[in-house]
Amino acid sequence: MVMVGLPLAALMWEATSEGTQSFRDAVSSPEAVAALKLTLGASLAVAVLNAVLGTITAWVLVRDDFRGKTVVNAIIDLPFALPTIVAGLTLLALYGPTSPVGIDVAFSRTSIVLALMFVTLPFVVRTVQPVLQELDPELEEAAHSLGASTWTTFRRIVLPNILPGILSGVALAFAKAVGEFGSLVIITGNIPFETEVSSVHIYGRIESGDSAGAAAVAVVLLAISFATLVSIGVIRHFATRHDR
């Protein structure tokens, strides 16, 4: 509690130490606003991509059967195990200026989405997978034999059951994406107003000695993280209440 609470208290203190006016100035400076807009936009895009691709991946891992599934299942956790800075460097190796396949998205906004997709990949898969495992395949079989198409079965039978899982996975991915730093510093080039996200913006302010300004922007990120955690709590609450 002290470990987590005290530093955050110091952060709040610094952010407001020079009065609310300077707090507002720091947060509403054009560069800070541009960075925050970019962060939220990219994180939302990545959250949506995760919802779709993560759910498909979880479905394939649970309902499908093929050689090497154990390996594929293990690889899902790679972003949890791989240092983020290494993630950024590896993405740059394939999708950067020296790309062997000729795709170069480095230092563009696409690269932000790419890096965020990498680091958030496991969240939706890992929250949907256990729920799908619990879900009886016979329900789906029954729907099929009654003439429902694959899509209808998914929409009417599977989706309502896994929706809380998808939502909490998406929320976790969103929180992670908003705060991501390590994987972005190399691949995005950190160009202000172009590819500079909030965490990089905060880092820049610290480096230039503006710790009050950095703290002000950090408080905004902190509030977003906290709100996301609360909404995950709410989703879980409703999901388990439904079961009882």
Binding site: V4, I85, V86, F118, F181, A218
Partner: protein, 267 residues
Amino acid sequence: MKRLLSRLGLRTLALAYLALILVGPLAVVFWRTFEDGFGPAWDALTTPETLNAFKLTLIITAIAVPVNTVFGIVCALAIVRRRFRGKGLLNAFIDLPLALSPVVVGLALFLLYGRDGWFGSWLDDRGIEVLFALPAMVIATIFVSLPFVAREVVPTLREIGDDQEQAARTLGASGWQTFWRITLPSIRWAVIYGVILTTARCLGEYGAVAVVSGRLQGETETATLRVQERYEAFDLAGAYAISIVLALIAILVLVAMTVIRPKEGTA
């Protein structure tokens, strides 16, 4: 027939997604690193600065992992077995490091231990170096890897219930004995799983350490900071070589996770 097609289609889509995002980039780095054989990679790894960076990473991990393991078990026991005021708050706080930006964590510690920070002048008077030195880096690493053990242990503790613990108590075991003989053996796989995740996080921490370390080459530079430094010095081979070592550790972590996961339910 249509169902088979859609099944194959989804499988292809999922595998292509994983290949493009996860496997492909890593494979390219492996290929680039060993393009000219093992020699250049080995030379890049054995420079004094790089060796020192790895040593520092290992020291930090060796301190942070045991601390977080003990803390995680204690927290999990408190959350599951005890009732007290502010339990909900503890529950929320323990997840916060997962949702927080590492840069925000680093900044918060920077403001606490820096020269103008709350503890800064007190520490300065006594000549204790925290910021831009090992202590701050250890604290930052502990902060970001705080929740993993507790998060793994909490569900297991809930699942096993406290019947056995109460039985041990009635038979006259002390609280300490009950913990060592009954509780710990039944949560051991969850603890090990949590420790693996914590270790991976500690070895790979970048953002928080970047802020509090001051990145003094050869002094407060960890392996991950070294990757960035080598990249900025246009020494791509050096950056790749360090990355490969960290990636190999990550793969080991994945193997360990896969081996341990099925045992979780039966432990």
